[in-house]
Amino acid sequence: MKRLLATALLLILAGLTWAALAPLAPANRDELFEIPKGTWARRMAGDKVEILPERIHLTLGANDVLLLRNLDEVPQVFGPALIMPGQSFRLPFEVASSYSFACTAHASGQMSVIVAPHPARGWETLNWRLRAWIKQLS
């Protein structure tokens, strides 16, 4: 029993060490937002549809590409771009900063993208991974 507990503890420790030290370099760095089919019709019917948050948080080297996809049947102003039906708009970020875009999809007329620097190895990387896992589970 003791041996089993020790092994489990060791595995958890190894997992946390990996999560803290392994570089964040995911194969897919897209942060995807989609306009579902029928959104325009819902809006026309008076339904207040909010798909894109007014503030989006990205992290360099982890999820630093904003990917907006229009699955609806009409062109849509989605964030900073007019996107045709079936079209995507992929916007990469390379500098940590706060970006403001004109966006008619929001009542404020603005959309902000806050790009955080690449997390340092250790606690910052571990923290980022844990938050990402929690987000995936929820």
């Binding site: 190894a14 060490t17 370099a25 904003l66 771009a81 708009f89 916007l91």
Partner: protein, 191 residues
């Protein structure tokens, strides 16, 4: 057991960076690219200005106004530097500057203003409703704001990248330097 665990951990540390994404345009990219919305306006050279006139060239489409004190001078200055950095290849790049302030920006005013940056840049003006239709087709926003001395126009500040076949390829947000433009223009010229 311990040794196997350490070997796996080491292998993971070594291979993870190899999964990084391949390089792309620095600008935002439209996928798949569609034909850039065509328009017919008055050019700063006095002739009718249509995008089709520049088929075979890369077009950088900018929206702004000649009384702009913040965004436009930086954007146009950046485009001048990028075009110069491209050398001979820069001749295949055409900057088209569409005014959002037709009240003050007639063809002559646009010509004078753009000549201070690069004589090859061309301006476009027209009736307010025609310009509003062009803005709507690109998702560009422009709002007139009262100032102490008169008015200014708060406008979208991105630059649209249109390839040699007339397809809208990308949109470069404000703030990118000449190097990023050179990177993307070279990529688009090589297509």
């Amino acid at each position: 057991m311990m040794r196997r665990l350490l070997v796996s951990l080491f292998a993971l540390l070594l291979t993870t960076p190899l999964l990084a994404a391949t390089p792309r345009l620095k600008a935002g990219v439209f996928e798949p690219p569609h034909a850039a919305p065509e328009f017919s306006l008055q050019g700063s050279d006095g002739a009718e200005l249509k995008l089709g006139r520049y088929r075979g060239k890369l077009v950088l489409l900018v929206f702004g106004f000649t009384h702009c004190t913040e965004v436009c001078p930086i954007t146009l200055g950046t485009l001048v530097q990028a075009r110069q950095a491209l050398g001979k290849a820069g001749e295949a790049v055409q900057v088209v500057y569409v005014t959002v302030d037709p009240e003050r920006d007639d063809a002559a005013q646009l010509k004078r203003y753009l000549a201070a940056y690069d004589a090859s840049f061309i301006g476009a003006t027209g009736k307010p409703e025609a310009l509003a239709a062009v803005r709507a087709s690109y998702g560009v926003v422009a709002n007139k704001l009262a100032t102490k001395g008169g008015y200014a126009v708060d406008h979208s500040s991105s630059v649209y990248l249109i390839d040699r076949s007339g397809r809208l390829r990308g949109m470069m947000p404000y703030g990118h330097g000449p190097k990023d433009y050179v990177h993307d223009l070279q990529l688009l010229l090589s297509l």
